[in-house]
């Protein structure tokens, strides 16, 4: 069996499942946000910040951000291992991606519970 030390679940089957579960979460979140914006054409700050003050919306958002982190890593890992054949280049790319994902996660938490 080929083992890989950089993919998320350490097994292709695990990555496969993570990618699909996170995809469903992200699809629901995208649908919700797009529908919310469509149904509130004259959205103001009070309504918008009121939505994100709700506990369920913060949970939903954090779930989506974590799903984004997993989904992006599995996807970009797959793309990078397919196209970047030079180990150093691929490792550098993956390091940048991990750093970016980490920044997005911390940024997201700060936006949800921030100052």
């Amino acid at each position: 069996m080929v083992t890989n030390i950089t993919n998320l679940g350490r097994s292709g089957l695990s990555d496969w499942l993570i990618q699909r579960v996170s995809a469903v979460v992200l699809a629901l979140y995208a649908l919700f946000v797009v529908a919310y914006l469509l149904f509130h054409p004259n959205l103001d700050y009070a309504t918008w910040s009121g939505l994100f003050a709700q506990t369920w919306m913060r949970i939903f958002s954090l779930l989506a951000f974590i799903s984004m982190a997993a989904h992006a890593w599995v996807g970009l890992w797959t793309v990078s291992t397919d196209y970047l054949k030079h180990t150093g280049v691929r490792f550098g790319f993956q390091a940048v991606v991990i750093l970016a994902i980490f920044v997005f996660l911390v940024w997201g938490v700060q936006v949800l519970w921030g100052a």
Binding site: R20, L38, W48, G75, A100, G114
Partner: protein, 149 residues
């Protein structure tokens, strides 16, 4: 030496399959080096587009988080995001591009989930689902443009 191997191979003793190799190398098979006449089947194009839109969406997260952060930070921040989306052409183009990428990635992802259930996993089904993916996402791209403008 090589000539000897060739001769013996052609004369019957061919332990390394050399005769087959010689035949392949020397044959006058048609060779197509005109890349403009070679094209990927539609499912291959939607597959690579799924990957490209995924990378675009990842980069686009910068704009998404920036907009979310600013819009929730203060009434002034909310107003700056709203007016940028309402008046700034570059911001509109970015929003349209990201919504379009999201639309395609979403539809192609649904197609993936359908295929995981074993639905339409054959040549005909693959082509038809790729066509449906292109049509639906084209509609979404237009609708996203209408929404932004």
């Amino acid at each position: 030496m090589i000539q000897l191997l060739k001769t013996t191979a052609l004369n019957g003793h061919d332990p390394f399959g050399l005769r087959e190799c010689l035949r392949a190398v020397n044959s006058k098979r048609p060779v197509n080096l005109d890349l403009s006449t070679i094209h990927f089947p539609l499912p291959a194009l939607t597959s690579i587009a799924h990957r490209i839109t995924g990378v675009i969406l990842f980069v686009g997260l910068i704009f998404g988080f920036w907009a979310l952060d600013a819009s929730l930070s203060s009434p002034e921040g909310f107003e700056s995001v709203r007016s940028a989306l309402a008046h700034n052409v570059l911001v509109k183009l970015i929003a349209w591009g990201l919504l379009s990428a999201l639309g395609f990635h979403f539809v192609a992802g649904i197609k993936h989930l359908l295929m995981d259930t074993g639905y339409g996993v054959d040549l005909e089904g693959g082509n038809r689902k790729a066509q449906i993916t292109v049509v639906i996402s084209a509609v979404l791209v237009v609708l996203a443009g209408v929404w932004v403008w």
